[in-house]
């Protein structure tokens, strides 16, 4: 395609340069009813899954329809949202912190027309473009990362598994039938971009093999001390090796100490470790960030490894679905997954879900590991020694 200049002059890059202007101010984009009643809301109700109404002290109402979004989307999809917003909402819409999209209108008749319009839109393959849901005690969108779409350190994909899991849990997106909201998040490596460490169910890509060392380029493309200090277990040390009769600076990896976190590859491109058979997903459960009743919790590893099975990740989706269903059946109202597992005891969690407990789940990282072992005689006998 021919080059089309935006007016930027590469010969004078600093000329007419605008910088440090920050984002647009949020209130430029508020729907009139939100602007008018800002800070004056009285109460809200969830009318049905995906549909909320907020009532202001002035009596004004705003109806919100929340729709699932794939997060990764084209400009045509965004234009379609804008078309909907133009048609029903005076050109306004918003995205939530879990990447759902919300359309807002100020009366009930408009809401019904909007709902009907949204429900009628499908992709050629049959998927809903704007599935309505994600409110109350159900499963809303999955916070996720880049995966094989764009990142260089993933151990699994993001968009693929998220689509597979949401397809399996779709009924909980469009209903509010769980004891409490259930947050699922996915990160494609242990960097844990996003929310896996504090979600009811966290899915995180892991490696199971140490990095391969490219001695021929390592000293040229890496700052060796950074690679050494990137290792949480001190498994990497600087060393020299002989390569085609030449001494080169490089690193050595103590494979008995390496737990395949991939941090050294993040710092040093000469230490790749992704592996088709080795890589997979660890499943964590029981995290939350709200302060409701119990304090915020980290999620804990309960399944050390499920294999990558593109494109539908059947073992992963089956395991997640099972956890959701067992939690749904057993937990009390308002109990988040972590609250439930801690009340019944983790040995009961493993017994009820039928997840085989393995030694991989026992913490062995530094002094704090000790506090995760049981220093008490209080436990329940379970049938679970498998």
């Amino acid at each position: 395609m021919a080059f089309i200049s935006s007016g930027y002059n590469p010969d004078k890059p600093m000329e007419d340069r605008i910088t440090d202007i920050g984002p647009r101010k949020f209130d430029e984009f508020l729907p009139p009813v939100i602007k008018k009643n800002f800070g004056e809301w009285d109460y809200h109700e969830i009318l049905e899954p995906g549909i909320l109404v907020h009532v202001a002290k002035s009596g004004d109402k705003v109806y919100t329809i929340r729709c699932g979004g794939a997060r990764l989307m084209t400009t045509s999809h965004i234009r379609e949202m804008l078309e909907i917003a133009d048609k029903h909402c005076g050109g306004h819409l918003r995205f939530t912190t879990r990447n759902n999209v919300e359309f807002m209108v100020d009366d009930e008749a408009k809401m019904k027309a909007l709902k009907e319009d949204l429900a009628s839109r499908k992709f050629a393959g049959g998927s809903n473009k704007f599935p309505i849901g994600g409110t109350g005690a159900g499963i809303t969108n999955i916070v996720h990362t880049q995966g094989w779409v764009h990142c260089h350190t993933p151990a699994t994909d993001a968009s693929g598994p998220v689509k597979a899991v949401m397809d399996d849990c779709y009924e909980h997106f469009t209903s509010m039938d769980l004891p409490a909201p259930l947050r699922i998040s996915l990160a494609c490596c242990l960097n844990m971009c996003g929310a896996v460490h504090a979600s009811d169910i966290g899915l995180v890509g892991i490696h199971r093999k140490p990095p391969i060392i490219d001695h021929s380029v390592l000293d040229n493309v890496c700052e060796i001390p950074l690679a050494v200090s990137a290792c949480p277990l001190g498994a990497i040390k600087p060393t020299k090796t002989e390569l085609q009769g030449e001494k080169v600076n490089t690193v050595a990896v103590n494979e008995n100490r390496c737990m395949y976190c991939g941090n050294c590859y993040t710092m040093c491109p000469a230490l790749p470790l992704a592996d088709k058979e080795g890589d997979g997903i660890a499943i964590m459960v029981g995290g939350k960030i709200s302060n409701r009743i119990s304090e915020p919790k980290f999620s804990k590893v309960v399944v050390a490894y499920v294999p990558n099975e593109p494109p539908r990740w059947p073992t992963l989706t089956k395991t997640v679905k099972n956890i959701v269903e067992v939690y749904s059946k057993n937990a009390r109202k308002y109990e988040r997954l972590g609250d439930w597992a801690e009340r019944i005891g983790w040995e009961k969690f493993f017994e009820l879900t039928g997840i085989p407990f393995t030694h991989h789940c026992i913490d062995d990282f530094r002094d704090p590991a000790y506090y995760t072992w049981r220093q008490s005689t209080q436990f329940k006998f379970t049938s679970h020694v498998k």
Partner: protein, 105 residues
């Protein structure tokens, strides 16, 4: 890997234009890169930053932290950006022949 020919020298570079080998660095490299980094004329200030980055890299095997660069050269981050519009990593380190910065950048 691409090879750049400039002023009778050849440099092996990656897709971001960083030198593949620190040893390949020579004053011609700076001359070659400066335009793509938005630098018209090389001043004493530029040279001071480049010299310090190279000394530090040879001595420590890593690029200095921004705070160290500022403290030793006496240039505040703002002044470093005035010298190198792309910043200390993409601009100064590239011109000094240091490896490409890594991590979550």
């Amino acid at each position: 890997m691409a090879t750049v020919e400039y002023a009778g020298k050849s440099f092996e570079v990656d897709e971001d234009g960083f030198l593949q080998r620190f040893e390949d660095w020579c004053p011609e490299w700076v001359d070659y890169v400066k335009e793509s980094e938005g630098i018209k004329e090389l001043t004493e200030g530029h040279q001071k930053v480049i010299d310090f980055l190279q000394d530090y890299y040879k001595k420590n095997g890593i690029a200095p932290m921004v705070r160290i660069l500022s403290k030793v050269t006496g240039y505040k981050l703002k002044q470093i950006y005035e010298l190198f519009p792309s910043g200390p990593g993409k601009g100064a380190c590239k011109m000094a022949g240091l490896p490409k910065p890594t991590g979550c950048v």
